[in-house]
């Protein structure tokens, strides 16, 4: 069994309550940090741990923390990004539902490290049950003296609040989240300035994902060096993977970074193989925005090595043959899944979620969706396929925030790897309406590719 750092006690009955959580060693990290470590010491441990942002971008958390501006007399804020909305990702919801005190504990330690005396957890509005769970957990922690004034006699004060979103994927982008928290439309801000300098209410702010904050607890408890021993290379520690789609055991799994993709899909410990005895066709490995890969490329890199669940191995080959770990939303598609339909579905999602502020994304996401809809429903032409590639290129990199890229990548990658399936939709419109292209050659062993220029 792999080591569990976040979910070690997830199956203990009542772990969602303060008393049981405390009995299992909960809030030790708060005691350790506030009594024996300086805020800078905590930042140092997080740096040593090699923890990378678990929300999707994978930016080193310790480094992000060290960028925080600290002007005299200006409050600083820590905001937890619990606006989990990336299709395929549901780990934060699982964590907040089952072990809310882990997040609260992480928030206390992290706020202490950053010198924040008021912190917010921005939870997507649809997760109203989780909001209630967190509010209850905060009340319990406060009653036990872990929140409020002069926590554990350390002189450190912290108020923690839960803020509901209102139904907008874009608020997972950190500056859109801050706008939303200020009671505005979730339009991403134009950067610079970055939140580390001018964030919530114009004050220095750090925004971190739920899982990143939770990971600070084992890092403080065991030390950054110990944490860094798990994993491979720059992919340290454990990662929560949300597994969904056509698999036998969908759910949230805590993995040690470095397990092979093949093991993750087929072992009983994790996904338990493809459902209904079907064969694997494709995987979206890190949430809907990352490039989709066919079965052969997700299991092996073009060098013939096993692909591993690490930041580096998944992105091996760049966008030509690789993908990204992203937020760990692992969506498995079996041989019956239609790639065109799936791409159209994702495309509709991004069209729906575009904030509309900047022109390439506002106009381009809708355009792509319409063309994909036409292809899926048998009215497409061959030139539509190239048009899609081109429109995706016009969006990518030219927008205010990464939603443009997130909308462009799934379309570009689907056509890159499954072009013949798109073409089949054009040449066989009637069949495409009734059936699908099937597995085709997508699981065939990779040819030995000579180094291309």
């Amino acid at each position: 069994m792999a080591r569990k750092l976040l979910f070690e006690h997830i199956n203990v009955p009542g772990i969602n309550t303060f008393d049981v959580y405390r009995k299992q060693g909960g809030y030790r990290a708060v005691e350790k940090a506030l009594k024996s470590l300086s805020p800078d010491d905590v930042v140092e441990e997080v740096k040593k741990s090699g923890l990378r942002g678990r929300g999707g971008a994978g930016f080193p958390t310790g480094m992000k923390w060290s960028f925080l501006a600290k002007p005299e007399g200006v409050p600083r804020y820590l905001v937890c990004n619990a606006d989990e909305s990336e299709p395929g990702t549901f780990k934060d919801r699982y964590l907040m539902t089952n072990i809310p005190h882990l997040l609260i504990e992480g928030m206390i330690v992290s706020s202490y490290a950053l010198g924040a005396n008021t912190s917010y957890i921005y939870v997507r509005g649809e997760m109203m049950p989780q909001i209630r769970i967190l509010e209850k957990a905060i009340a319990e922690a406060k009653a036990a003296g872990f929140l409020g004034k002069n926590i554990l006699g350390s002189g450190f004060d912290l108020e923690l609040y839960v803020q509901p979103g209102g139904g907008a994927y874009i608020c997972g982008e950190e500056t859109a989240l801050l706008e939303s928290l200020e009671g505005k439309r979730g339009n991403p801000r134009i950067k610079p300035p970055f939140p580390a300098v001018s964030g919530l209410y114009g004050c220095p702010t750090v925004v971190n994902n739920v899982e990143s904050i939770a990971a600070v607890v084992p890092i403080v408890n065991e030390g950054g060096d110990e944490y860094a021993k798990i994993g491979i290379g720059r992919s340290t520690g454990t990662k929560l993977i949300s597994a969904s789609g056509n698999i036998n055991k969908p759910g949230v799994y805590e993995i040690e970074l470095g397990v092979s993709v093949e093991e993750f899909i087929y072992s009983e410990e994790y996904c338990g193989g493809i459902a209904n005895g079907k064969r694997l066709k494709a995987v979206v490995a890190g949430g809907s925005s990352v490039p989709i890969l066919p079965a052969n490329l997700i299991l092996k890199t073009t060098n013939g090595e096993n692909r591993l669940m690490t930041y580096e191995s998944l992105s091996d080959g760049g966008f030509a043959t690789g993908t990204m770990l992203g937020s760990g939303g692992f969506v498995v598609l079996d041989e019956d899944a239609c790639i065109v339909r799936n791409t159209w579905n994702f495309s509709r999602f991004y069209h729906h979620e575009s904030c509309g502020q900047c022109s390439p994304c506002r106009e381009g996401t809708g355009w792509m969706e319409k063309v994909l809809h036409r292809l899926e429903y048998g009215h497409g032409t061959m030139s539509d396929i190239d048009l899609l590639v081109n429109v995706a290129k016009q969006i990518e990199g030219n927008t205010i925030c990464p939603l443009g890229d997130a909308a462009a990548w799934p379309v570009a990658s689907a056509i890159r790897h499954f072009r013949d399936e798109f073409e089949w939709h054009v040449t066989h419109p009637q069949e495409a309406l009734k059936g699908n292209y099937g597995l085709a050659h997508y699981a065939d062993p990779l040819p030995q590719i000579a180094q291309t220029v």
Binding site: C355, G356, S359, E363, G366, K370, G397
Partner: protein, 334 residues
Amino acid sequence: MSDKVKVTIDGISVEVAPGTTILNAARQIGGDIVPPAMCYYSKLEGSGGKCRTCLVKVSKGSEKDPRPMPKLVASCRTTVMDGMEVENITSPEVVEAREGVVEMLLINHPLDCPVCDQAGECSLQDLGFEHGAAQTRYEFDRRTFERIDIGDKIQLHMNRCILCYRCTYVADQITDGRCHGVIGRGDHAEISTYIEKAIDNDFSGNVIDVCPVGALTDKTFRFKNRVWFTKPVDAHRDCPTCSGKVTLWYKGEEVIRVTARKDEYNEVEEFICNTCRFDKKKTSDWVIEGPRAIANTSVISSNHYETLKPLPVIQQNPALMASNKEEFERTKKS
């Protein structure tokens, strides 16, 4: 030591004050290397960054950190660093990206220039002319909204809007209480009052001047004439509310429109009040200064000076007559 920073745009260097944006540095150089700007407006704080037409490539970040920026940046919102090198029209990547943005801005635009009052002085028309493709690749129904009146003087033609947000900044920054804004999301977002309300404020008419397209137009001028058949004349009056410095647009002897004075980047020099704009339409209300200088590339100047037939107000004043003649000569040359 100089307190200015040096930036090079398309090979042309200029020294500017720290904190200047790339776009404004380019405007100090002037000419073809100035990126087009559809949403940025120097007089409106917070504007810019949205339309993406002013994207440029920063090929050298600064003297201290010469690394290029990884993506194209919005020149209106990126400040220059000492030693920065920028490519605009010399970068094929920028030119291609800009074409892409222009296409996006046009796919849902009705292209109803023949019946649009903005035609001839429309930034989107100019942009499309300079950077757009002759054919559209968009084959779907265009987005449509109903035309609405925001009060009795301003008409909102949402179909034409490119969501630059300028009019909302005007309402926020120069009127006392904004009652219109951007509602809805994504490509359904629209400028609206949500429930029908008149924009009633001394300075509300400025939303017409800042609108880069024909989305917000002056109802008192609606369908009166094509702008290239009118003659712009600078004039002023002693106004208790605003500077009173305006441009009068004549058709024959009649003032058919009053606007603020706009510079070469289509930005007003000073905002004007609604009284000056909507209620003072007699020559006798104004002190005439002289013909408004219009870029000789503009369609507005094309019909003006074919023959030297100045307005009566100009004929009566020898100084104005001289400057009008000069304008005539200048236009003929090109």
